[in-house]
Subunit: 108 residues, 2 copies
């Protein structure tokens, strides 16, 4: 029988946050959700033209799972689903602000 791998991942706030918002797209999506009330998938696609559909859906699912975004299914036909920022998700606003501020300082 194979040994079980034991992952002793050192936990710290920086890594926690990195995991929650890491990757190429999560922050970009959250930024859109923060600046709009509700967004449909097709609207997000339009707002982020260079994301692939697969990634958009996949990352939205993760954001919802981690309670950073909300998903509302209107149960209509044709399907209507609205994504929005969650209460927890609101808390990344100052973080994004800092990232913008950092980029500005960096580029001087």
């Amino acid at each position: 029988m194979k040994e079980e791998k034991i992952y002793v991942t050192p936990r710290c706030p920086i890594r926690t946050t990195s995991e929650l918002i890491g990757g190429k797209w999560k922050l970009v999506i959250l930024q859109q959700l923060l600046t709009h009330d509700e967004l449909r998938l097709s609207e997000l696609k339009r707002l982020i033209p260079d994301i692939s559909e697969k990634m958009l859906i996949q990352e939205l699912k993760i954001l919802v799972m981690n309670d950073l975004a909300k998903r509302k299914d209107y149960d209509e036909f044709p399907p209507r689903v609205a994504y929005s920022i969650s209460d927890r998700g609101q808390h990344i606003a100052p973080l994004i602000k800092e990232m913008v501020s950092f980029a500005q300082k960096y580029e001087q």
Copy 2:
């Protein structure tokens, strides 16, 4: 002759910052550099036990290249090299603070 790929990566401050500090290790390393005056490679290895040597060296090189960290070679034998935060690198301090703050809020 093959067509040349043209990358029209939409530029924005969020993506700029993401690229500069993205990945599993850059922020962890910067955090150590921020909280110490100078650090040798071996000291960083000790402070971040779960990083591989390859990644540590590779990420340090990128951080230095992007002027977020400084590298000083003392030209001694045995080799002595000291890494430290750069002026530009100092600017991620508030960002890291926000990340810690976010993790705390998130975990409530």
